[in-house]
Structures are given as C-alpha cells and as structure tokens.
C-alpha cells in the first residue's frame, strides 16, 4: 500500500467520526472513540505494510519525502499517541461533558463529545504529514494544521477557565512563534531561492554563502522550533498550557506535538548542520539551548507539587536531553559514527511516548476518583490501587532513567552520543539534570508508596475499564521490554 494512503485513511476516519456523530443517533457517544481506536490500530498495523513507490517523479514528492523510515517511525509515534489519547479521552469524557454540556432539556446529554474524538484524528493526520514533510510549504501547512487543532483541543473545555486560559496562552505564544517561523522561512527562501529542503541544503553548503544572513534565518526558524519542542527560553508556555488543557490533550501535546516538533527540527537543522560555514555556530547555540533547557526543566521541577505541572517540567527536561542529542551532531555525516542524533532522538521519543503516556493514562484514570492533580492526591495510592501505583512507579522510574526501563536507554544513548562527540559541558549538565530527575520523579513514588492516604479520601477501590487496563499493561510491558532489549524500538527506526 502506498505510504500516503495512511494519512488519507486517518483523515477519513476523522470524517467518519464526524459524520456518524452528525447523522447517527447514538446513546453513548463514547463508542465513537472506538471507531478511531480501531481505525488507528489498523493504520498502525498498516505502517508495517507500506510500500515506497519506485518513481518519485511528480509534484507530490516535492512535499513528501520518500523512502524515509525515520518518517515512518514518527508516523508510528503519531498514530500510537493518538490511539492512546482516544483511550484516555473515553475515561476522561465525564469531565469533558461536565465542562461543555448543555443543561437544556432536549439536547443530547453528550453533545460536543463527538468532535472531541474527531479532532485528535485530524491532528494525527497533520502530525503524520509533518513527519514526511520535506518542503517549507508542506512543513508550514501541516504544522499549522496540527497547531490549530491543538488551539481548539486545549481550549476545548469551554466553560472551564483553566482550559480557556491555557488555550489563550497557547494561542498567543503559538501565533508569536508562527510569526517568527514564517519570517525565518521567508529569509531562508530568500537566501536559497528554494522551498525544497534538499535544494536549500545544497544552497547553504555553498562556500560563498554569507553566514550572517543564513544564521539570522536560522535563528528565526530555531525560535519557532524551540517553541514547539519546549526548549528554554521558549518553554514558558508549557507548564501553564499543560496544566490547563484537558489531560488527554496534555498527553497529546506532550508526546505527539513534541515528537512532530522534533522531526521538523531534525529536517530543518540538517541543511544548516550540513553547511561547513555554519556548523560550529549552530552546534554552539544548540549546546547553549540544551544546557539552559536541562537546567530549567530539571531544576524548576524540583519544588513542583502539582503532578500535571511536574510532567510539564519533565517534558521540558526531556526536551533538554533531546536538544542535547541534537547538539551532539557530528561534523560530517557518515564516517565511523552511526549512532546518529536522528536515531537517538527517535529512540528517545519512542521511549518517552511509552512512559509519558503511561503516566498520563494513570492520571486520567484517577481523575474521576481522586480530588485533584496535586502530588498529595496520590498519597497512599499503593494501598488503594496497587496496579495503578505500580504502573505509575514504572513510568516514573523510566522517566527518571532507571536501568532496565526504556527511559534509561534513551538517556544512555544521549550520553553515549555526548561522550562520543566529546561534549563535556553537556555531559556535566546532563548529569545534573538526570540527578535532579531522580529526585522529583521518585517523589511521586514516595507519595504513592511511603505516605498514608489523605484523611478525607474514600477507600473505595478504583475501577479500571478493561481497555485502559490492557493499554496500561501493554505500556508497562513495552517499557520493560525495551529496557532490556532496545531493539524493540530501535528496530522500527530501521
């Protein structure tokens, strides 16, 4: 099956959900999510079946990279994330309904829920297009598709001040970063005379290139990208938006959006890194960004008491490690080094997907039974629900980078890369970051395992739907499996 069918199927899925929502009278609109979940599962399976066309002539391939297994991997991330987000959305739907439902008689009690399941699908299609985009235009449009979908989804709880506030903040800063990105695109187009990344790379490799102008364009683009991936100092939106957004959407933002941001970043950085005149400066600035991000993400997380915000800082922290990998880009591609930043980042994001989604999944499952998102609400969880506590423990251990979990290999590869490219400064800060990580992640474990449950909590057992349970189990198994056998993920990168 040609690869570009995948996005079409996903878009079609979204349309089906919308149509069914509009024209079929459903008692429980949550079954709409099943369409998405099953459909995405099929798409995920199809990912292993795609064919690349023999000929890449034709207009289409100007915008869509071919023979690109990295893109495929990121499409996989997008699909899987969306799938799990839909699973979460089912659990989370009572809260969504509370915030948007229409009290009037006659209205469907679940009005507005169908769109909630359709939008992630469209966003997913956008993310998949981003993974394959190899042209400034397709990068821009796919990126904006995703961004606009996220504006809506973040602000989805339209009676909830927090959600709307998050929406507004994301909107304003997102538009700001889009402005810079567009401005940067304009400059890049101006100095290279092309929108095609391959042609841009050729143009930038020209030794007569004026480095100032190129670096200016680079700076502007980097701003836009740093915003997407949450690198300091363009990370400030993350904690607030993550906190305010509906939890499944936070998960989506934290994994899907970030992963797509990274694939775009990899694509856009490649021409600059390939230019001998620019290489050093680019790496230097990436190093600075990485150091700042590592410090801010990890240190600011230390005093954090709200679990959702903590995960936000953690997402910044992990962005730090990822940027660190970027900054370890080799001067010349090929040669001895084959543990390329691309592979490392892809692996890291794969691992990050598993562990972050696991954490968020536990969080959404609990959201209806425990009072809030503060860390203290998780006190004594081990006594109330050993399974959820264990799941969260695995997730935290993996995020902290304890060996034999997927998260460790992520850090391991990043550190290996840094050692190999002799980025000692980065190593030191990576070390500080990882050390701080131990503290704040395990703090959750302390709450769950070592503290008594809060006085006012009811001791009622927490129910978990079978779907959630299976998803949780699958994630746990994958984390542990990838922790012993990283080939599980690395094999997919190809």
């Amino acid at each position: 099956m040609p690869v570009y069918y995948l996005e079409i199927i996903v878009v079609a899925l979204g349309l089906v959900v919308l149509m069914v929502d509009a024209f079929v009278k459903l008692e429980d609109k949550r079954s709409l999510a099943w369409i998405g979940i099953l459909g995405l599962a099929v798409v995920f399976a199809l990912l292993f079946k795609v064919e690349w066309p023999a000929s890449t002539e034709g207009a289409f391939w100007r915008f869509y990279s071919s023979g690109d297994s990295l893109a495929l991997f990121f499409k996989g991330i997008a699909v899987l994330t969306t799938l799990i987000v839909l699973v979460m959305a089912i659990d989370y739907s009572p809260i969504i309904l509370k915030q948007i439902a229409n009290p009037e008689p006659g209205a469907h009690p679940q009005a507005g829920l169908g769109e909630c399941f359709a939008l992630p699908l469209f966003a997913c299609a956008g993310l998949m297009w981003m993974a394959s985009a190899n042209n400034l235009v397709s990068i821009f449009v796919s990126l904006e598709t995703v961004t606009i979908a996220f504006y809506i989804m973040v602000a989805y709880l339209r009676r909830n001040v927090g959600s709307l506030e998050a929406g507004v903040k994301y909107l304003i800063l997102g538009a700001l970063s889009t402005g810079f990105l567009v401005y940067g695109f304009a400059w890049l187009f101006g100095i290279t005379g092309s929108m095609q990344l391959s042609e841009i790379a050729t143009a930038l490799a020209n030794p007569e290139l004026n480095p100032t102008v190129a670096l200016f364009a680079f700076a502007l683009i980097l701003v836009g990208l740093a915003f997407k991936i949450g690198a300091t100092p363009f990370h400030l939106w993350i904690p607030d938006v993550y906190q305010g957004a509906p939890t499944p959407i936070t998960a989506f933002l934290s994994v899907g959006s970030k992963a797509a941001g990274f694939i775009i970043t990899l694509r856009l950085l490649a021409p600059f890194l390939g230019s001998p005149a620019l290489f050093e400066k680019v790496v230097l600035i990436l190093t600075v960004l990485a150091v700042l991000t590592l410090l801010v993400g990890n240190l600011a997380a230390l005093p954090q008491k709200n679990f959702k915000r903590l995960l936000a800082y953690s997402s910044i922290a992990h962005a730090g490690f990822l940027v660190m990998a970027l900054a370890c880009s080799p001067h010349e591609t090929g040669g001895e080094i084959t543990l390329s930043p691309d592979t490392v980042i892809a692996f890291y994001l794969g691992a990050y997907l598993l562990m972050t989604l696991l954490a968020f999944l536990v969080m959404t499952t609990l959201r209806t039974t425990i009072p809030g998102e503060e860390r203290d609400s998780y006190r004594g969880l081990a006594k109330r629900s050993p399974f959820l506590a264990f799941a969260l423990l695995i997730s935290m251990a993996s995020l902290a980078g304890v060996p034999l979990t997927a998260g460790f290999f992520g850090k391991f590869f990043v550190f290996a890369l840094a050692v190999e490219s002799q980025q000692w400064t980065l190593l030191v800060f990576g070390l500080i970051g990882a050390a701080a990580g131990f503290y704040y992640y395990l703090k959750i474990a302390v709450s769950m395992y070592l503290s008594d449950p809060p006085q006012d909590s009811d001791a009622a057992p927490i129910s978990i739907t079978p779907l959630t349970r299976i998803t949780l189990l699958a994630l746990i198994v994958l984390i542990l499996l990838a922790g012993v056998h990283p080939g599980v993920i690395l094999g997919l990168i190809g």
Binding site: L222, V223, L299, A300, L302, Y439
Partner: protein, 609 residues
C-alpha cells in the same frame, strides 16, 4: 621419626582447639565433663611435649599447612619450627598450663560458667602453642591475636562485674595497640628481607641495606612484645587483668601470655642483634619497666596486684635481657623459665589464700595465715624466696645471669636500675608475706580460713619444688638451650653483681621487717607509687581527649559539615535554583512573550555576533 614429630606437633597444637570446639558445641551442659576433658587434654599435651623434648635439640622441618597462597611472593603457611627454644618453651607452657587446669578444677568448681571457662582455657593453650611453635611471623601473629582474644575471654570471665568486663576490654585493646606496631614490624621486616620465615629472615638479615629502617622495624616488632609482655608504656592492662579468676592470673602471668613477648624477642634475637639502636632501646625499656613496676608494687594492698606488679618487674628483667644479644636473650629465657614456676606458685598460693579467705584480697584484712594455711604458707614462702633471689633458689641464678650479662655488655644505666629493683623486690615481697601471713588475724574471713584441698595444694607443692630446684641442670638441662650450667662462667667469680644483689636482698628484707612487723596499717604513704604514677589516669585523660572527644567532634563534623557539604548543600542549591526559576513562570502570558522576545534577541545576537 620425623613424621612422628610432625604428628606430635600437630597433635599438641590442635588438641586444645578440638577440645575447645567440642566443649562449645556439645559439652556445654555437662560442665564437669568439660572440665575433665579440658584438663585431660592439657595433661596429654604435656606428655606429648615431653616426647617432643626428648626427641633431641636439633631443628626439625615439619609439614606445613598452606593457609593462603598469595602468589609467588607470599605464601602464608602454618608450620612449625621445632628447635631447643620452642621445645623448652612448650614444656614450660604445657606444664604450667596443666597445673593451672588442675588447680582450676578445684577453684572453679562451683562456677556457673565452668564450661565456658575451660573452653577458653583450652583455646588459650591452643593459641599459646601456636605462638611457640610458629616458624613464621604471620603464623605467630595469628596466634598472637588469638592469645589476645582468649585472654579477653578469661579475664572477662565474670563479665557481669563491670570491672572485669572493662579489664578484659582494656587488656585486649592495649594488646591491639602493641599488635599495631608488631604488624608494621612484620611488614617492614618482610620488605627488608623478603621473607616472613624466621630461618629465611635470619639468613637474609645481613644483607639489609636500609639499617635505619631495620632498626625501626625491630622496634615495631618489639611493640608487639611491649603489648603482650606489658612493658612500659603498655603495662596498664596487666594489673587490671587480676579481675579474672586467679588461676587465669597465674596462667597469664607466669608462663604464657606475658612470656609470649619475651619468647618472641628471643625467637627473633638475630634481628635485634642486627639492630643496635633498637637493642639499646629494648634494654632501657625493660629496665625502666622493672623499676617502675617495683615502685608501684611497694604501695599495693591487693595480694594479687602486688604479684602482678612483681610480674611486670620481672618481665622488665627478661625484656632487658633480650636487648643484650644472644647471651642476654638466653639469660632472659632462663629467667622466664624459672620465673614461670615460682610465679605460678605465688599466684596459685595467692589463689589458695583468697579462696580460703572467702575471696578477700586485701592483705591488710588477712594476717596470721601462717598457722591457718601451713602448706600454702610454706610453698608461698619458697616462691617468695625464689622471686627475691635468695641464693641457690632458681630465681637467684637466672637473675644473676641477666645482671652479669648487662654488666658484661656495658649497659651501666640499665644495670643500676636493675640493681635498685633487686633491693625493691625483697622489700615489697617481704612486706606482703609479713602482713598477710604473720601477726594476728585481722578479720573474720581470715579467722575462718581453712587449708585448701589437695587438688589445690598438690600443684603448690610441686611448684614449690620447682621454684627451688628448677635452675639446676638436671631439670633445666633438657629444657633450655642454655641453662644455669651454661652461664657458669658468669658465676665463676664472686663479683660486683653478687655483692650488690645480696646487699639489696638483705637490706630489702630488713627494711620490710623493720617497717611492717606487727603493723595493722601501712606506715608508708606514697600516693605516687600507690596510684601507679598516675599513668592510668593519664591514659584515661588521653583517651578521653584524643579519642572520645575527637570522635565526638568528628561525629559532629560528619553530621553537620561533611553531610551538608556533600549532600545537603548541592541539593539545597538545586532546590533554590528551582524555586528561583519559578519566578519566570508568573502566569502572565505577556511576560512569557517578553521573555520569548528577549530569547529571540539573545539568540540572534549570539548567532550573528
């Protein structure tokens, strides 16, 4: 024949260990049986040792047990050096050991921890045997330590008594300090000569280049002897060790533990001979110990303590002798041999007295025991005679030998000190005998004293005989490398030494008789001597100052400096930084945009700079 010797030696070594283990594992509940087994084994080892001694005086190679093989440079083995020195020493050790076992059967009859006592006694015999038979330094050190621990168990036998428990600890720790030096010494000798085996060291010691280090090495080795033989400044444990049961005191003081130090020096006399400076130091230390201990003995009231200090004093003689070369060493061993018998006699006699007086140990609360305990008295008196070197008793010959050697070696200073001791010893011993055995009985306990049973007095009588005659050739000949006869040339003329020591003897006894006859209270009052020159107090102060308060201080440092510095400070720094970073996260989107813009400016600036 050699294989027989081999078997015998191993049997001598291992029998007590097996007995100790058996008692510990199986016989604990049958205390009487334990005691008998232990005593029987002591007798058996004595017999074995007699066989060994009868085997002749030549050195025999025996099979060694490969204990640890650490590559080509160091193979630690358990093997025996069976020569005249060790055979003789073994005989002393086992014979005294057997007698102490025998005596203990009576003395410890009703003790609750009888099994434990005899197990420890056997362990002690095992350890002591190991020291004597050792053919290398490491093996000697191994058993050296084991002697330490078994003496710990014996001294602390009555561990409910805080004083006993403390004394045991003190003995062990003081010995450990000595062992600290000993181990360094062993290591230094090893790097200098390349071996830990006595015979190999003897062969290699001539080739040592770094003589200064050799001197230090010998002094370090000597430290071990200072600890075990309770020389200045590590003598403090020995008087306290009187807290143990009296037979233990006899064992430790007479022939075994304290003798081990002297024996060890005799064993490595070739090293001492090669290190002049160290030899001088050893002589001086010995002489000073002899004098200091004698002075302390003057003012003690506890019968066992007086004997303890006299032991110290006599050990001083022996150690002093070790610094005088091969001849001196043999003289020292000679004295060790004679001393073993009369001191065991004195201790057991004291034990009998104490036993009879219902565990009263203060001589001023005794008196008139001459008539109540005639056998004890007479044997005690013979022992005293030997100790104060009444001519023709065993002690006389050995002491003269040491003094003569000192004179011959031109060690005038130590010689003078030793002569003063020769006056002091008769004085305090006479004081003891007069106060305890003569005059009226002073307390009810002394009044009710009855002669002890034969199990206890038979050893006394045997020992009394030895105290008088042991120096003579028919007894000492087979036992010693060099006995009285070999020192004949020293006694060939009635010289300065004889005159001086006889004068000292007469003067000492006379002074004691004059001062103490018929007194019920001590007419002399010298706090400095009574309080042992305040050395214990000094040590206590030093320990408090340099150990306890430094420890407390370091504990404080560890809690409030190191831990905060290594752990809390970085953690706090990170937390503070984290809290500071929250300042940027003020919730206002416009301020975010502002930082965003600043970031853009900075980014562009650095990139196009």
């Amino acid at each position: 024949m050699d294989s027989d010797v081999n078997t015998l030696a191993w049997a001598v070594l291992l029998l007590p260990l097996v007995v100790a283990a058996t008692i510990l594992l199986g016989l604990k509940r049958w205390s009487g049986l334990s005691a008998l087994v232990s005593t029987g084994s002591a007798l058996l080892t004595l017999v074995f040792c007699l066989f060994l001694a009868g085997d002749g005086n030549e050195t025999v190679d025996t099979a060694a047990y490969p204990w640890v093989d650490l590559g080509e440079h160091l193979r630690l083995t358990i093997g025996f050096q069976l020569d005249a020195l060790s055979r003789g020493m073994m005989l002393i050790v086992t014979s005294i050991g057997f007698l102490v076992h025998l005596f203990s059967l009576g003395y410890m009859k009703d003790d609750a921890g009888k099994s434990r006592y005899f197990a420890a006694l056997s362990l002690f015999m095992f350890s002591m045997t190991g020291i004597v038979l050792a053919d290398n330094f490491v093996m000697m050190f191994v058993f050296w330590e084991l002697v330490g621990v078994s003496s710990y168990l014996l001294i602390g036998h009555w561990f409910e008594k805080p004083s006993a428990a403390d004394a045991a600890k003190k003995a062990f720790l003081t010995n450990r300090i000595g062992d600290f030096g000993f181990m360094i010494g062993i290591l230094l000798v090893w790097i200098l000569t390349g071996s830990i085996y006595f015979e190999e060291i003897k062969a290699a010691v001539g080739g040592v280049g770094n003589l200064a280090l050799l001197n230090i090495a010998v002094l370090c080795v000597f430290c071990g002897a200072v600890g075990k033989s309770a020389q200045l400044p590590l003598h403090v444990w020995l008087p306290d060790a009187m807290e143990g049961p009296t037979p233990v005191s006899a064992l430790i003081h007479a022939a075994t533990m304290v003798a081990a130090g002297v024996f060890m020096l005799a064993r490595v006399i070739f090293l001492i001979e090669a290190a002049d400076m160290a030899a001088t130091v050893i002589t001086w230390i010995g002489a000073l110990t002899a004098l200091a201990a004698a002075l302390m003995a003057l003012q003690q009231n506890d019968i066992k303590r007086i004997l303890a200090y006299s032991t110290l004093s006599q050990l001083g003689y022996m150690v002093m002798a070790q610094g005088l070369g091969q001849v001196g060493s043999d003289a020292g061993m000679f004295h060790l041999y004679t001393h073993a018998f009369f001191k065991a006699l004195l201790f057991l006699g004291a034990g009998a007295v104490i036993h009879a007086c219902h565990h009263e140990q203060d001589i001023w609360k005794m008196g008139g025991l001459r008539k109540k305990l005639p056998i004890t008295f007479w044997s005690f008196a013979l022992g005293t005679a030997a100790l104060i070197a009444v001519p023709f008793t065993s002690g006389f010959w050995s002491k003269e030998a040491i003094l003569e050697t000192a004179l011959n070696e031109n060690m005038t200073g130590p010689y003078i000190l030793a002569m003063i001791v020769a006056f002091l010893t008769p004085f305090y011993m006479a004081r003891l005998v007069i106060v305890a055995f003569f005059g009226p009985t002073r307390t009810k306990d002394a009044d009710h004293a009855r002669e002890v049973g034969p199990v206890m007095w038979v050893p006394l009588v045997l020992l009394a005989a030895m105290a008088v005659f042991s120096a003579y050739g028919f007894l000492s000949g087979p036992l010693l490398a060099r006995g009285r006869a070999d020192f004949g040339h020293l006694f060939s003329h009635f010289g300065l030494t004889a005159i001086l020591s006889l004068t000292g003897l007469v003067a000492g006894v006379a002074a004691a008789v004059y001062l103490y006859r018929g007194k019920s209270k001590d007419p002399l009052h010298i706090p400095l001597f009574r309080d042992k020159f305040y050395i214990d107090e000094l040590y206590l102060g030093l320990v408090r100052l340099f150990q306890d308060s430094v420890a407390a201080f370091l504990d404080f440092v560890d809690r409030y400096v190191i831990d905060p510095l290594v752990a809390r400070f970085p953690a706090g720094l990170a937390l503070t930084a984290g809290s500071f970073l929250r300042v940027f996260q003020a919730g206002n989107v416009q301020s975010y945009a502002f930082f965003f813009a600043i970031g853009v400016i900075a980014l562009i600036f650095f990139l196009i700079l």
